[in-house]
Point group: C2
Chain length 596, copies 2
């Protein structure tokens, strides 16, 4: 079984030494977010995830969820219910929820640290409370007062969980095609929801007494396509305007999927058969309301990639220090042992350092993005709010896609460090690799994130978010221009930031002439952007470590940054060349001629 130890030192380094979240939280008026409080919460979060969630991760994979065809009930794996009870009792569910609904009102970006630990400890389990977070966001921003009272309080307390019901068999990415219908019930202002949704995470389970589905459906006479989609609240057990739980609603789980991984997380087909639902937000504006949930969900899925990568790395590192195999090519390093530990071999170090640099850099990238959610929600300065919104919109697809793709890559390298043993279930490495594989698919595939980045955030919004990020890079480079100790990073960073801007202009120009150039460049552009962003964060990490960290951490950050600039950043060369080759090589072959 794989081990997990929460990386508290690096989480604190990221939040407090690099991003300076303490000062930000004070400025934004978070009363409870003092350093000593947060330190205590982080320690407790580490204990909870290490001792309660991590130990039931393997059994959750092995046994998975069970479905009873007759009752439509889903039984979660052994230990999941008890762990959830402890989670709720510990108050973890409401950590970042608004205080007026029973939450503790801590910053979203602080909650991300808890989220990372949960995902690393037990990704499948983490999906149950995760979906509640999305429902909370949607209700907070779009719910009527009675809806917030009736649904939000029990969700925040953890008594109920939420879901997001978007996908149907014939439409995943293309929600404009959805067919689920909502017809008004004359009596009470509610609606009758009918249709079938698939891939509904936590759609049915035995962790809570009620489940609140947020469902996309069409009103009668709604316009075709995405402009005719509305959002509804459909609880498993009916809920009156007074918040009282009533009889069973006409919603039922029809089956659960057999999947590559996250076996402990139920993925449900949900049948709505005239189920009672309540409109949330404006009619035909459901997609907009759902986007509120999707954006936080996308950041959250990025964090899943980070958590899995970190757990995989920890185990590969322990194995590489322990496993004796072959001698170092430059001479035996441990002549008293039968062979050297494999961490002496440069290629094993290459795999480990790839993980370390992507994980620690990715932590900064994602935690910083999460602070923008806090700024957006809590600043009173309109200009700052606009900037946070644009920058967050720009960073969200990068965080989602890069951290999940790196999650896949790091679990790959970590498994590879184990050799053949990595393929065997008992070591737990292959579960991490299988679990990671969902993250580049759900909440929008990597390709969809890339289109969001290049098509929407760059082309439609004239790259406002990119300009803000480039501004951060320029400011940092200017600030460090006299610092000889940082020159080896600041020089290359400034150069590649310029290339990033030029490349963006080139792509933009070509896309004006042919819209397919966007789709042709998008994924390479996304990765290119992710690697440049990480170069910035690695330079910032070295600067922060130099300023305040003990020698060991200072050394580790500098050497890892050197590795990143020497060995990972050059991937941008391939992505840039690929982007510059344009759309033609992708488009000229007739679809009929693809067969071998």
């Amino acid at each position: 079984m794989s081990r997990y130890q929460a990386p508290l030192r690096d989480i604190r380094f990221a939040l407090f030494d690099v991003i300076d979240a303490e000062a930000l939280y004070a400025r934004l008026g978070f009363a409870g977010a003092q350093r000593d409080v947060m330190d205590a919460v982080l320690d407790e979060a580490a204990r909870f995830t290490e001792n309660v969630l991590a130990p039931i991760n393997a059994i959750g994979d092995e046994i998975g969820c069970a479905f009873d065809k007759d009752s439509g009930a889903v039984t979660s794996p052994p230990g999941f219910v008890h762990a959830y009870e402890q989670f709720v009792e510990g108050g973890w569910n409401g950590l970042v929820a608004p205080e007026q609904f029973g939450g503790q009102g801590l910053p979203e970006s602080f909650g991300v640290a808890l989220k990372e630990m949960i995902d690393a400890a037990n990704l499948a389990w983490g999906n149950y409370p995760l979906l509640s977070h999305g429902a909370t966001e949607a209700l907070k921003h779009h719910g009527e007062a009675w809806q917030q009272e009736a649904f939000l309080r029990p969700i925040v307390s953890g008594r109920w969980t939420g879901t997001m019901c978007l996908t149907e068999a014939h439409c995943g990415t293309d929600l404009g095609l959805l067919k689920t219908r909502a017809t008004p019930n004359a009596a009470d202002g509610s609606f009758a929801i009918s249709g079938t949704k698939i891939f509904i995470t936590a759609g049915e389970h035995d962790l809570t007494e009620n489940i609140v589905h947020l469902v996309l459906a069409r009103l009668p006479d709604a316009p075709a396509g995405t402009k005719g989609i509305s959002l509804f609240i459909v609880p498993k057990f009916k809920v009156g305007r007074d918040g009282a739980m009533g009889e069973r609603n006409a919603v039922r789980c029809g089956s659960i999927e057999h999947k590559m991984g996250i076996h402990g997380s139920s993925t449900c087909v949900m049948h709505f058969d005239g189920a009672q639902g309540w409109l949330i937000g404006q009619p035909n504006k459901g997609l907009m309301a759902m986007f509120t949930m999707m954006n936080t969900a996308r950041l959250a899925v990025g964090i899943q990639g980070l958590g899995l990568a970190d757990r995989a790395y920890q185990n590969a590192l322990a194995y590489a220090r322990d496993r004796l195999q072959m001698r170092s090519l430059s001479g035996a390093k441990f002549p008293d042992k039968p062979a050297d530990p494999i961490i002496v071999h440069p290629d094993v170090r290459r795999m480990l350092l790839t993980c370390k640099s992507l994980i620690e850099g990715g932590r900064l990238l994602s935690y910083h993005a999460a602070t923008l959610v806090d700024v957006l929600d809590h600043t009173s300065d309109a200009e700052e709010k606009k900037r946070a919104d644009e920058l967050l919109g720009f960073l969200t697809p990068i965080v989602k896609a890069c951290l999940t793709e790196w999650g896949v890559e790091c679990t790959y390298h970590a498994l590879q460090c184990f050799g053949g043993h990595g393929y065997i279930a008992e070591h737990g490495m292959e579960q991490l690799a299988r679990d990671a594989r969902i993250t580049t698919l759900y909440e929008g595939t990597t390709g969809i994130q890339a289109l969001d980045l290049l098509g929407r955030k760059i082309m439609q919004l004239q790259g406002a978010g990119l300009q803000h990020f480039l501004g951060m890079i320029q400011a940092f480079c200017a600030e460090q221009s006299g610092n000889a100790a940082l020159a080896e990073f600041v020089g290359p960073l400034a150069l590649i930031a310029q290339e990033w801007q030029a490349l963006t202009m080139e792509v933009g120009k070509r896309a004006m002439a042919n819209a397919d150039e966007v789709g042709a460049a998008s994924v390479d552009y996304l990765f290119y952007s992710g690697y440049v962003a990480l170069a910035y964060w690695w330079a910032r990490a070295v600067a922060a470590a130099d300023a305040s960290s003990p020698t060991d951490l200072k050394t580790a950050k500098r050497e890892t940054a050197r590795f990143y600039f020497a060995r990972i950043l050059p991937r941008t060369l391939a992505h840039a060349a690929s982007i510059r080759s344009g759309a033609a090589p992708l488009l000229t072959l007739d679809a009929a001629l693809f067969d071998s």
Copy 2:
């Protein structure tokens, strides 16, 4: 469930139009290898693999092998035994085995086409006959006459299968550490073998009446390390010098592994408890004899990557033509349908063309390498034999590592084309991804292949194989220098071949000063080499298609080659930069400071 249709057109194109195997086989004196015979065999192979093996691939994954603790027996998945019977009856097992032992004596490289189809149709099943092929090679080259008669005949006929017993719990890569002992039995010249081997593919199963283990062990007073390893034949049921099968030998399966994939392939812990064995080859030269098996096994594992990639690609292609989702960014392509098929989207095409170009290019790379086995075994020209040996030694790690890594990559892209549906077991895409994951681990990880390539084939052997391959490129470029239609490929190919040579010199020079530079550069060098080699084969493919193919194929090859040069070959930029950054960024961080 995923479908499979043998890519006969491209297999024929590779073997006959590009590599010109027919002429080669005639020159090497293969009497039975006429084109009409081979065409008929290929058609039959397609039918067998499509209709017998492919349909039991999913059930093999779902049910897997069963182990009975009391008897030590392994039961293969439903249908495996019957499929094996048909395989043997059809004469497939001996297709490339020597005629004097009951085989059909067809060329090894022709057998690779059958192998590709088997692996694509059912990788787990294919591992049972595969291991026999290795045992055949070892017995053919190193067995005494009576051993060949007693063991080789039943293996070639398919009545028995073989295994390779190398790995022990504490040593996989580092066989010098192995502990299994062999002590002489005074009476009959046999030995008593004692020890435990792990990860033994097909170590126990119910397909055949006997199983022949080739076991590495130490003789009494053998020198320490790899110079004290001998190879032994240890059958499950004892076999006398007369070939008669006797009583059960003291070898027993202790358990089978629970793995990420290839569930239908038994991976066994084998206990040898004074089992009767026969020395094969010279005492203490066992590793050399085993290398005979390992080299063909490494090519064979490369073909596994190719087969899985191809099956995954075929299914992704069918899905991409069928699945309607979103409109093309450059305007609706099928306005009469509710949405466009996703193959209109450039990024879906990028994923498909990545697969297509790596698969068809990889087919040429690997089939050509396999022809060198035929040259090596059958030429009477000493100079040609030496060249084939050097070139094959150089290409083997490239074929093994690149084709398996590309297999992982292509199954990844293909799954990604399915979106969330790719993660669901019923589509079969996730099985292909899980099955592919073993191929970069067994028969030497990618890192080990890379060390073999750079440390041994380049550094120790002064790059003789590379020089031969560069010679092939130069000859082709010279031959095509007046061909304007090929100029777009020949120009970049000639340039990158020069860079390959220069880069090799640079690495070699650095490695003289510090042996760790080899390990630091090795994997990047391997990929770099693989991509250049594929550029050569793509240029050759276009030339061959221009010369003799119908317009459709001509167009498909040219456009895919353009994609390859524009979108895949630039990966060499990142690998070259990474190589040139040297070993320091990998080595300076103290092993104690890797924790986050």
